[in-house]
Symmetry: C2
Subunit: 296 residues, 2 copies
């Protein structure tokens, strides 16, 4: 059996070179581009590209055709981190063990670097749309929808609006389905759009991604309490200091862990249904287990 | 002869109702959407939609088909104003006679409102791309390119990077071609893409738009010195106080006015060439004259 590390490395080797090339030519001298690449190439686990890679392989897609979508999604994810880290939002100094973008380049350039990554992601997707394949256009539209007010931005909005307010567990689920879940959902679903997967498959993938988003976020909240900051690459215990509502602060560590295990089980059920339809889900099972057990 | 006011009002009546509808349904209760609409519906002259309207009429396009492109462009323009006004960038308290978005909603929500308008603009454009017309996809791609690092964001980046540095007039031209010119160029060129205009027409429209961008910006710099703040809806004399390089601070008022008149003449030449090809350019001449002579 392969290890999660092997799988993540394989997907990393697939996506990383193309991320280095999203701003070709002289434009690399621009300070905003430097700041954009500083954050985009800061490492990270590349979970979204990895999920897109694994579902593309599962569906038998041409992996080269998927690259523009994986890199656009990772750029959108990175822009959201840069803006989230700004003093006006989460005010974080450290990300992936390095100074955050605004700490390295100043707030104005960091703001612009986020805008730049978001805009560039869509430039890349429009170039794909021109190729005349409806699946590519639908995949692009799905990414934009999940990045927007019905997805990630909507989650960030609830998050910001609920600071210093008591929010209940239902609103926290909605917030996290959007803030974290939406882009993970896009990562899993884009291959379905590109490959024209039948509804029976797409619905399993969609459900899997929603369970995974919650698994991922609840684990994040648990790590904020339990992780080794050196391993995590950012400070811990911040949620409680900031009075932030998380699955752990609202439910306690034990109940949060139990809910995370529920989502993990949900993921495995969906993968089993896909396996029943004849798809090879072995790598996805390994990755899912890793995400549930990760220490950073 | 029609007045510029009539023309601007007519274009305003065409675009305004559709701007009110860019976030339909329950999502209007979201605080980020409220902030987005606060800025989007704050008035302004709607010059970009007006230009798109006039060139669409000139080319005989179905005006209903153009609306999604005009509103997306105006949303992109508005997001750039919201982010530009933030303390990390220009730090402006007043815009169009009203408190800027971050003054009304706080910096975090204003940041998110800008992201939201940018993302939503592209959601709208992808929906257009799905209609299967290559012209619509090319128009969308052109907007994204002009909004990005090769256009507006590139200009903002030079602007921010050159604060407190001595910049020369050549760099100022490049900065303003990108920062102000790029979206005006998109406004004029989108109808060419949508209508499949021949190269001879598209090149005149492109040149017109570049002259207009400079005319518009030099006039802006002149107004910062000469205008009545009450009429302008924002404070004046700010450029000099901020030590900002503008056409007026670098060249003096007389030379700046002379350069503006050169660009105005350039605009009229391009319109004359279009008239020679049989197009009705009368409203565009009136609008161009208005932009050269405006007092706000």
């Amino acid at each position: 059996m392969r290890s999660a590390k092997e799988i993540i490395n394989e997907a990393g080797q697939w996506i990383e070179p193309s991320l280095e090339d999203v701003f070709p030519g002289d434009i690399r001298e621009d300070i905003t581009v430097k700041a954009s690449l500083y954050s985009l190439l800061a490492g990270g686990k590349r979970i979204r590209p990895c999920l897109m890679y694994l579902f593309s392989r599962l569906l038998g897609l041409d992996l080269d055709e998927v690259i523009p979508f994986a890199k656009s999604l990772e750029m959108i994810h990175t822009y959201s981190l840069i803006h989230d880290d700004l003093p006006a939002m989460d005010n974080d100094d450290l990300r992936r063990g390095k100074p955050t973008c605004h700490k390295a380049f100043g707030e104005g350039i960091a703001l612009l670097a986020g805008d730049n990554l978001l805009n560039r992601a869509y430039e890349i997707l429009f170039a794909e749309c021109l190729k005349g394949d409806q699946g590519k256009i639908r995949a692009s539209q799905f990414i934009a929808d999940k990045a927007g007010i019905n997805g990630m931005i909507g989650g960030q909005s609830i998050d910001l609006d609920s600071e210093d307010k008591a929010i209940d567990i239902d609103l926290l689920y909605e917030l996290q389905d959007k803030k974290t879940g939406a882009l993970l959902c896009a990562a899993c679903m884009v291959p379905c759009y590109l490959g024209g997967a039948p509804a029976s498959v797409a619905s399993e993938v969609m459900e899997y991604s929603m369970h995974l988003g919650l698994l991922f976020q609840i684990k994040d909240d648990i790590l904020d309490v339990e992780a080794d900051p050196a391993l995590l690459g950012k400070s811990t215990g911040k949620d409680e200091r900031d009075g932030k509502a998380t699955f752990v602060t609202l439910l306690g560590l034990e109940e949060a862990t139990s809910r995370m295990n529920e989502e993990y089980k949900g993921c495995l059920d969906n993968l089993e249904h896909l396996a029943d339809e004849g798809f090879d889900t072995s790598d996805l099972r390994i990755l899912t287990e890793f995400l549930a057990q990760r220490e950073y």
